[in-house]
Each structure stands twice: as C-alpha cells, then as structure tokens.
C-alpha cells in the first residue's frame, strides 16, 4: 500500500529521521514501535504531509502517487484516515460537527456518518451536541478514531489510539481494527507502546530507534531480544 524509500527529515538543524525504508503491505496491520522520542510520530506526520521531508519518497500504491508531492488535504480523498497523537479534537465544534468535518470528501449521496461508529462508541451518540473540547480525555480519543473512520479510509493511520481509553473500550478498538483489517481489507498503520495490544492486532511490526529503522518483520518475529534492545530503557 505504502512504500517509503530513503526518507530523511529534519527539525531545523536536528536530523530526526534517517534513511527510512519501509513497506506497509496492503490489507495488513503494521505496528510501528520504539521508545519515546525516536521519531514515530514524526514519521507518521511525514506520511500525512504535516512535516516537510528533506529527501526520499513515499509511494501510495494503487494510484502510484508520491505522497511527498501531494497536499495534505488530498489524503482523505486518497483514502487515508488519521488519528493523531494527542487527539487533536476541534475543541469548540460539537461532537457531531467534529464528525461531519470529513464528510465533503465522500461522494455526494454518501455523506452521512456511518452508524457503526456509534455502535463502536456509544458515548459519542450520547454527547452529539457537546463541544468536543468538553469531553473527557478518553471520550476525545474515541471521537478522534470515529472522526477518522467517517472518511471511509482504505488506509488507517493511528498514533497511540488507546491512550487514555478505558480497558473494555480498548478491547473493542482492538476488535474493530482487526475486523476492519481482516474482513474489509483495511490497511492499518499503528503506533503502539503496549505490547499485548500490538501483538493482538498487528500482523507485522517495525521498530524505530533514534530515527532509524532497526527491525521489521512478522509479529511472530518480535522476540525478547528485540524488545530488550529497542523497547526498554
């Protein structure tokens, strides 16, 4: 689905991502892992176009489009949904409006919020007319996921989506990601710190360390040595 080649990124003078090569195979769930501050969020932001890329390319498969040269607002139209770290809810829009924001990228006639979002997160239905910023942290996280699903994505990018969410909902999120992934062929790129969750939903993993990709493979291959080496402090 996405193939990243030779990606380098800088914050001002500091070189944050180094020569990243990475594949996100279609229909699979890839989990991106690594310690705090290694560049996971930065990599996702590069894919989303929020960060300028110094060199390298990010090919989106079906259309063979180079995302580096595509504007941010094209991404939902290309079928990319995004759940950022820190929720990034529109605080003064109501829950309903937060969800509606993505509707115009859908073809006319399909512009309504799918019901399964409310089945997944019933709390959103209860709080339809409350300002997004008033929701509790976990409710906001649920809203953020719901909002990304509204655009009917082919590729879903999630940055620590379970942060601050109550355990039973975390399970459900895991289930739904798996379901979307397995049953509907949704491709998923997930950043996740919690190993059990990662193991549960992921098909593949990919580890970053200090801005470099250091390991990649099927989830089964994520062994203790790797964990010790790259995921513990």
């Amino acid at each position: 689905m996405i193939s990243i080649q030779g990606l380098n990124q800088f914050y001002g003078e500091s070189h944050t991502l180094w020569d990243i090569d990475m594949q996100i195979p279609e229909g699979q769930c890839t989990v991106l892992m690594g310690r705090n501050g290694v560049g996971k969020t930065t990599l996702l932001q590069c894919i989303m176009g929020h960060q300028k890329v110094a060199s390298g390319s990010i090919q989106l498969n079906p259309a063979d489009k180079d995302l580096v040269k595509t504007s941010v607002e094209q991404r939902p139209r290309l079928g990319i949904g995004y759940v950022p770290q820190g929720r990034q809810i529109f605080p003064l829009l109501t829950v309903e409006e937060n969800l509606q924001i993505g509707l115009p990228v859908l073809p006319r006639g399909q512009r309504r919020i799918p019901d399964y979002i409310f089945e997944l997160f019933p709390v959103l239905a209860d709080m339809m007319h409350r300002r997004g910023g008033d929701l509790s942290g976990g409710q906001q996280q649920q809203l953020a996921i719901g909002r990304a699903l509204v655009v009917d994505p082919k590729l879903l990018i999630l940055d620590e989506p379970t942060e601050g969410i109550q355990p039973n909902v975390v399970q459900e999120i895991g289930d739904i990601i798996r379901k979307l992934n397995r049953e509907m062929g949704l491709t998923v790129l997930l950043v996740e710190q919690k190993l059990p969750f990662a193991r549960k939903v992921g098909d593949r993993f990919c580890i970053l360390d200090r801005g470099r990709k250091v390991a990649e493979g099927d989830m089964a291959g994520l062994d203790d040595t790797l964990i010790k080496q790259y995921l513990t402090v």
């Binding site: 607002e73 939902p76 829009l93 924001i101 993505g102 115009p104 990228v105 300002r131 008033d134």
Partner: protein, 537 residues
C-alpha cells in the same frame, strides 16, 4: 363646489394647462421678469417673483419651479435668461424669451440666477396657494404647513374655504389647528377660544404648542388660562413620550451602523483570528465603489444602490482575497503579526485612495427613495435613510448567520481556525476556506461601506473612523459570536444615545468607553463568551 376667492389664482390654474399654446415672442411680462431677475440686487429679484405671481402668466408655476431648482441662467454673451437643465459643457441652453437654443461652450459664461432664502420662501408661498387644491393630499398638507408659517387673514380665509370640503383627515386636522391658532390669537369669544384650546391640545404641532403657551401667558381669563395650561401639560407629556421613542430609534440606528461596520470583522477577526487593521479600509473601498457606480450611472441614482451593493461586495471581497493570498496566508499561526501586516496594508490602501480619488471627500448622493422621513406626527418622524440602514443591517446579519450555520464553509472555517493541521488532514481545503472566508468578511465590510456612504464622509479617512469602534463591538459581544456582535452593537448604540442628551456627545462617548472597560472586568470574554473546558485556557 370650491369657492375660489382669488380670481388670479383661478385663472392661473386654468391657464397653466394651456401653456404651450401661448406664443412667447413678445411677452412683456417675461421681458420684465427677465430684466428684474438679471439684476444683482436681491430686492429686484424678489420683485420679479411677485410680478410673475401677480401676472397670471401661464408659465408662472413652471418658471418659478425652474427658478427654485436653479435652472435659469444668464448668458454673458447676450445677458438674456436661459433655461439650462444641465450646466455642463456641450449641453443645450434654451433662451427664455423665444425658445432659441444654444450649446454651452464655456461653463463659466452661464451664471445661474441665484435665489436666496427669502425668495425661496416667497416662491414656495406662491406655490402653496395653488397647492391647497392639489390632487395629492401630501401636497395639500405641505401647502397648509407652508401657509401656516406666517399666516395672515387672507391665507386663513383660504384655508377656511378649503376646510369643509377637505376629505383627508390629516390635512383637515392641520387645517383645524391653523384655524384654531388664528382664533386663539384673534378672537375674544370665550366659546370659540375654548374650542380652539381643545383642538390645539390634541395637536403635536409645535406651532399649536407655541400659540397655547403664548395664550396662557397673555390671557386674563383665569379659567381659560387653566385650561390652556392643562392642554400644555398634556402636550408636553406626549412630546416627552415621543422623545423617548425617538431616542430609542436613534440608538437602534446608531447600533445598526456599528453592527454593520463590525460584522465583517466578526468573520475575519472573530472567526479566523486575523487582527485585521485594514478592515476599515475595506469598508472605505465599499463606499468608494458606491461613488464610482453613481458616477457611472448618474441618471439612475435611485437604482445605483442596488448595483452598488453587489459591486461593493465583489470589489472589497476581491481586495480581501488579494490581501489574504498576498500576505495573510503567510502569517497563520502568528495571529498577532497579522496586526502588523494589515496595519501596513491599511496605510497603503489609504494612500492609494488618496492617489486615485484625491484626498478630498467624494459625493455620494442619496437616492430619492431613501430621502425624507416617515412622519408619524409632528414631533416623531423617522428618517428613511436610517430606517433602510437598520433593515439592511438585519438583512446582512441574518444572511451571514445563514451562511455560517448552514453551509460547509461555516463549519470548515471554524475547524481551520481551531486546528489547521488537523482540518487539512480531514480533507478541508484550508487555503480555499481561508480565501473564501476572508473574502466573505471583506465583502461584507464593503457592503457596510455602501450603507455608510449614505450617512457619512466618503474619503480616505473613512476607514480609520470606524476601525476602533468595530473592534470594540466585536470584543464587547464576545469574539467569534455573530449574535454577540449584533447585541453589542445595539447595546452600545442605545447606551450612547441614552446618555448623550444628559452629557453631550463627548462625555457620552467617554462614558461608553469606561462602561466597556468595566463591563469586561465583569465578563472577561464579552457578552456571549465561548464557554467550556477548551475556552478556559
């Protein structure tokens, strides 16, 4: 059957329908009229008017009208009088005596026959005499009023004659008042005087009150004195009431001007967060657009406003879009710096207008349908231009409300201003949204300029005089809240007008500012604050 006492008048009216039949070549009246009118001494010109009025000349009314309108000119070449409908190079001038026409070569060769106030009053009086029998009740009313100005027994007699057959109530009432004033002053008959006081006590005409006051002073009859005193208090109460009503209207009208001036800013500043110091200049551009439109269609001033509104919207909107594309888009995320750049833009726009249109104020005419007053009674009338501006203000307000609430643009612009990056990630074309929104706010400012051009200067300083008030209104109402802007503008308008009679305009303005300062202490986020967790820090 109306009795016409004045034979002259009858003839005049009869003959005036036959004007064109008269051969004009050797008309002695006209010749004398011309001679007297050409004199530079005002008394001569006054005599010319009386001459014409007494002459029963068929053209009397039209000539006097032309004189009043300033369409009679003396040509330096032959010292004759000419009719000049348009005093411009290349236009035609028609000699009064024989109808010969000339083409104007040098404007200064034709000097207008000027009339002064005394002569104007004289002409209007002549016209009023015929006006009493006019078809239109408005003209009859006007005529009675004119004749009341300094009524003598002859005019009173005319009114007396017309009174019984007058069908229109308002005219009748006014006539009754005129007659009562006369009675009160001239008659010694107590019964008649009582009736007159009665009539006058019902009237709000200033003349009625004055004559009552005078009568109460001068009469020796204590019963009548008391009666007239009572009548006076009755009138004064009513006057007081209408004065209150008037103040309220003034407040709303000032409020609507403030709202109009501020409402574009509610969008660019309130919703988008751009501190747009050039907002005033966008208003100014709207006003200048009105001026240009009127220049382009000088013969259709009445229509010009309807052309000017969309035109101003488009022109100011395009300028706004140019500002947004050229400057502001580089500054998103640095909201305070938009102040700096737009301050620069406002300087440039002001100077640009000075260069293009000169530093002088430009004339924007008030179309006929906007001038005049809606008169409820002699002490309470509302001016039409203000009334239309109030209506227009509400129209703009609700249109905007609809756009922001019912279209995708409204939602998207709020999303973009709250979190640009995320809005883009959700597919919002933020650049387009910014451009359109800024264009919308600017266009609305332009529309406000059309309205303001009807009540104030159209000059390079126009914008500066509204920018401070506009920011006050937006902030007082609560940034980003359209309703807040409406309520704030109206509140400040009414407050100013309530205080003004007590303190004078200067102190009123100071007090309103102090009020704003203290009000913000009580409600640190304006009348309609953004609420909730997110708004708190």
């Amino acid at each position: 059957m109306r009795q016409l006492r004045s034979l002259g008048l009858l003839t005049l009216i009869l003959l005036s329908s036959l004007t064109s039949l008269q051969a004009a070549d050797s008309d002695p009246v006209l010749a004398e009229f011309e001679a007297l009118l050409s004199s530079s001494a005002a008394p001569d010109r006054a005599r010319a008017i009386s001459l014409l009025a007494d002459s029963m000349h068929p053209d009397t009314l039209s000539l006097l009208a032309e004189l009043l309108e300033g369409q009679l000119y003396t040509f330096r070449g032959d010292s004759h009088l000419y009719r000049v409908p348009r005093h411009e190079e290349g236009r035609a001038a028609e000699r009064l005596l024989d109808g010969e026409t000339l083409t104007i070569e040098r404007v200064r060769d034709f000097r207008r026959v000027a009339v002064n106030n005394a002569q104007r009053t004289q002409i209007r009086r002549v016209m009023a005499l015929t006006g009493l029998n006019a078809e239109s009740s408005a003209i009859r009313l006007q005529a009675v009023r004119q004749l009341m100005r300094d009524a003598d027994s002859a005019t009173i007699a005319l009114i007396q004659d017309a009174y019984p057959t007058e069908e229109n109530n308002r005219v009748r009432e006014l006539m009754a008042v005129a007659l009562a004033i006369h009675t009160l002053a001239d008659s010694d008959n107590e019964v008649l005087q009582r009736d007159a006081i009665d009539t006058l006590s019902e009237s709000l005409e200033p003349r009625a009150r004055n004559s009552l006051a005078q009568f109460a002073q001068s009469t020796e009859n204590p019963a009548l004195q008391e009666l007239s005193q009572r009548a006076l208090t009755q009138i004064d109460h009513k006057v007081q009431f209408y004065k209150g009503l008037e103040t309220l209207y003034f407040g709303i009208s000032l409020g609507s001007v403030l709202v109009l001036a501020a409402i574009g800013l509610t969008i660019t500043f309130g919703v988008m967060g751009v501190i747009n110091m050039a907002h005033g200049e966008l208003i100014m551009i709207g006003a200048y657009t009105t001026f240009v439109i009127q220049q382009l269609m000088p013969d259709h001033i009445g229509l010009s406003i309807f052309v000017a509104i969309p035109a101003a919207f488009v022109v100011s909107g395009l300028v706004g879009i140019a500002i947004e594309r050229g400057v502001i888009r580089f500054l998103y995320g640095r909201p305070l710096e938009t102040l700096l750049a737009t301050f620069g833009i406002s300087l440039v726009l002001q100077q640009a207008v000075r260069s293009i249109f000169s530093p002088l104020n430009r004339t924007v005419e008030t179309p006929g349908w906007m001038s005049g007053m809606l008169e409820f009674n002699p002490v309470f009338a509302i001016t039409l231009n203000r009334l239309y501006i109030i209506l227009f203000c509400f129209l703009v307000f609700f249109a905007l409300l609809l756009i922001l609430k019912r279209t995708a643009l409204g939602l998207q612009v709020r999303a973009v201003s709250q979190n640009r990056a995320m809005a883009r990630a959700m597919g919002v074309r933020s650049e387009r949204v910014d451009m359109l929104t800024f264009g919308l706010g600017s266009g609305v400012a332009g529309i406000a300029g059309v309205a303001l051009s009807q009540i104030t200067n159209v000059g390079p300083n126009l914008g500066q005089s509204y920018i401070i008030d506009s920011f006050m209104v937006v902030v007082f109402g609560g940034v980003g809240n359209l309703w807040g802007t409406l309520v704030a503008g109206m509140t400040l308008g009414i407050a100013t007008k309530l205080v003004e009679p007590w303190t004078g305009a200067v102190l009123a303005k100071i007090l309103v500012l102090v009020f704003i300062i203290f009000f913000i202490q009580k409600k640190p986020r304006g009348l309609f604050p953004q609420r909730g967790r997110a708004a708190e820090d």
